[in-house]
Amino acid sequence: MLFNSPQFIFLFLPIVFVGYFVLNSIAPVYISRAWLAACSLFFYGFWNPRYLPLILLSIALNFLIGRSLILYKKRAFLIAGIVFNLGLLGYYKYFDFFLENMNLLFSTDIPLLNLVLPLAISFFTFQQISYLVDCYRGKVENYNLINYVLFITFFPHLIAGPIVHHRIMMPQFQSASNLKINFENIALGIFVFSIGLFKKVMLADHFSTTVLDGMNYLDTITFFDAWTVTLSYTFQLYFDFSGYSDMAIGLALLFNIKLPINFDSPYKARNFQEMVSRWHITLTRFLYEYVYYPMQRWLSKRFFSSPRFKLNTNIKTSINVLFLFLLSGIWHGAGWNFIIWGLLMGIGVVVYRMWSKWNIKLPLFLAWGLTFCYANFILVFFRASNLDQALLLIKAMFGLNGFILPEQLSHVLSPLSTVGVHFGSTPLKDKYQALGLIILGFIIILGFKNTSETMKTFKPTLIYALFIAIIFVYSILNLTKVSEFLYFKF
């Protein structure tokens, strides 16, 4: 079920909400928790109930392994748990990619499995690995099964994050004060959810029209259209994913649960390290805590300590950073384009780190422009279905397919024809509307506070009530073309 569907907003959500607080007031706590978990599983299985047994098996096994780790602290249990989780993810997400490359490398013809990626597997796998690691480290209290199921399946974050940590979630689930209706949380929840819905329905989905259209003409796309398409995608991805995260945060608040923020105005960043730290914050945090630091320790102990590999600290850090973002790329998808995207993210951070050592300050606008352009450029690999597509688009972005502006502009911009710009028609539809949306995108991301900043200053005033009612109604009236969120495929 999608957050941006009428069924969710008008049927599922009110039923779950009323049921939860009614049960809280008349039944023992575990009943209302079980209700929430059962509803979350219904939400998960609504599209394709085929993978319900898989998520249930994963939850059950991880819970049992977690228990064993708390009781016995055996490293073998931890390794078995991680292997199980990564094995499941690897099988469903990466096995076909592995076979494709084997076939290519050894000229074999092993048939692909063509598996459908179970919804949310990348998210619940990471959450459960972090849980097992913390069980082994002795950082986990003995949670009961219902709370654990709820921690994994709680519908606001289940499908596409934010990736939540048991340290943040479990105490909230166990807190008695969270069982009562809290109108402050409800007001804030409605406020954030409405903003997220508006971002998705009125911004991301409109940017996607240009992107989808442009991807049809990659063979012949020219400079200006290529930039229109890539910029539209850069905004689509941000409004889509941050819109989803806002909705998730808002929904959780209705149940008195506070989810961590996932975006902090990444497109305002003035260097690339700042940008990646503001983008998909919960994933980056997870990778740092459970991959980067353990890997850094392991490499220092086992590898860099050897006299043959004596490297200075900067180089060691750079290698670790590259590896970290390579993993992030692989997490996002099974394909060379994601691997390259991840590596380019890492290169962006490494280059910034080297630059910052020279203490050369760029003017703010230039620093921001370079950072944004680089992010826009590497997102080509994120959007393209394969490397060929990405290269076609990049070729056009560098002007190798020519420069064509709409015929109507020839009167105003005719001097440009002397530098190789032609005037004529190109297949990309509604160019002016796309351009208007891009300008609007820049105004919103640069000129306004982000959702988490706005949440802090939220006051229950009539102006806010009118504002939210207007954007909520307008979004609802545009739900007819219900579209998936981009991060659902990860």
């Binding site: 009428p6 069924q7 008008f10 049927l11 809290n182 109108f183 402050e184 409800i186 007001a187 409605i190 229950p460 005033t461 009539l462 806010y464 009530a465 009118l466 939210i468 009612a469 909520f472 109604v473 307008y474 609802i476 009236l477 545009n478 739900l479 007819t480 219900v482």
Partner: protein
């Protein structure tokens, strides 16, 4: 806390009020002809390109007809009032543009699910939609017919900005007596409104979309068989017929070397069930498109023909039906029938000519 409660109440009330107002406007104006086919001055004509795949799913549930007509847009010429006057069964026409046998099957399943009165099915068959690669119509939505919780149509027609804009257009057009955004294509009984004025070149454009190659879809044949079984299992009377397509269309099959496939199609059909075949080179199919009123346009026969077809199939008012019109074909007489058809072609003076030139003045 009281302040937040008040804020929540105000925000949700404002939202609910605005949404209710929009839904009420769209319900009353009903721009897509879903909720009521009223004859009011403000919404008689409906929006152009309203989706019959959606509205007919609604209507069949609402009207609970005893008889339904399935098939393509040609089947929309089988007139429900005629069926009612001949059989006493109230009828609804679920003919849908470019509906394949699979779509007919799914709508029959759906009708059985939602219509407790159903007794009789009239199934119109057209050669073109049996092509293996014939694409499913873009407006077909399987979930609409099968999902237990399908609310998309309700929201799209009541709670959407596009519905609100279309409501405005419908009211403006109807009050100003203009047809800039609206038309009256479908009647309340699901049949086609023959008063609709076609755009110029309709006949020529029909010729442009005639098949030039053909591979019979075994799946489509299977769905005809399934429909027959479904009718038997539910004690429904089933009348299967082949539309009386115009001789110009038959001739394009011939000239495009599809005649063997066309005959094979009929052979396989009668292996499944007896079929009323109204097609062929006869006085009706060879009649002028402009003068005699047998055809609405090149592709579609008229309701006048539809009535004759009903008389023949129901064996009523049989004296008014030309003797050549409607042959009950079975596996026993199929070869003789096909042979007659080939012979009859020889009688048409326009055969072997360029059909684009013929249609221009026909």
């Amino acid at each position: 806390m009281k302040l937040y409660k008040k804020w929540t109440t105000i925000t949700l009330s404002l939202t609910a009020f605005a949404l209710f107002t929009v839904a009420a406007i769209n319900y009353v104006i009903d721009p897509y002809g879903i909720y009521h086919f009223s004859g009011h001055s403000y919404n008689y004509n409906k929006i152009i390109d309203s989706d019959p795949y959606r509205s007919k799913a609604f209507q069949v549930k609402k009207y609970q007809p005893e008889a339904i007509v399935l098939g393509t847009s040609r089947a929309m010429r089988l007139n429900p009032p005629s069926i009612e006057s001949l059989t006493g069964e109230n009828a609804y026409n679920i003919g849908l543009s470019a509906a394949t046998p699979y779509i007919d099957f799914k709508y029959l399943e759906y009708a059985l699910k939602v219509d407790k009165n159903l007794k009789t099915v009239y199934l119109g068959l057209d050669f073109e939609v049996f092509e293996k690669n014939y694409s499913t119509h873009a407006n077909y939505d399987e979930q609409r017919l099968t999902s237990f919780l399908y609310t998309q149509d309700l929201f799209a027609t009541l709670l959407s900005e596009s519905a609100l804009k279309d409501s405005r257009k419908v009211v403006m057009d109807n009050l100003n007596n203009t047809t800039k955004y609206t038309e009256h294509r479908y009647l309340g009984d699901g049949s086609f409104d023959e008063t609709l004025v076609y755009p110029p070149n309709t006949n020529e454009s029909t010729l442009h979309v005639m098949p030039t190659s053909f591979q019979l879809s075994s799946d489509s044949m299977l769905y005809i068989e399934k429909m027959k079984e479904l009718c038997e299992q539910n004690d429904l009377s089933l009348y299967i017929y082949i539309s009386p397509v115009h001789a110009i269309i038959l001739e394009t099959f011939w000239q495009n070397n599809l005649w063997n496939e066309y005959e094979d199609w009929k052979r396989q059909l009668v292996d499944i069930a007896p079929v009323w075949d109204f097609s062929g080179y006869h006085e009706i199919s060879m009649s002028s498109l402009k003068k005699e009123g047998n055809y609405n346009d090149l592709s579609h026969f008229s309701k006048k023909m539809g009535d004759l077809m009903l008389y023949r199939m129901l064996n009523k008012e049989i004296d008014s039906v030309p003797s050549y019109f409607g042959v009950y074909i079975t596996s026993d007489n199929i070869e003789e029938h096909l042979n007659n058809l080939r012979v009859n072609r020889e009688q048409w003076s326009e055969r072997d000519k360029n059909m684009f030139e013929v249609v221009a003045s026909y």
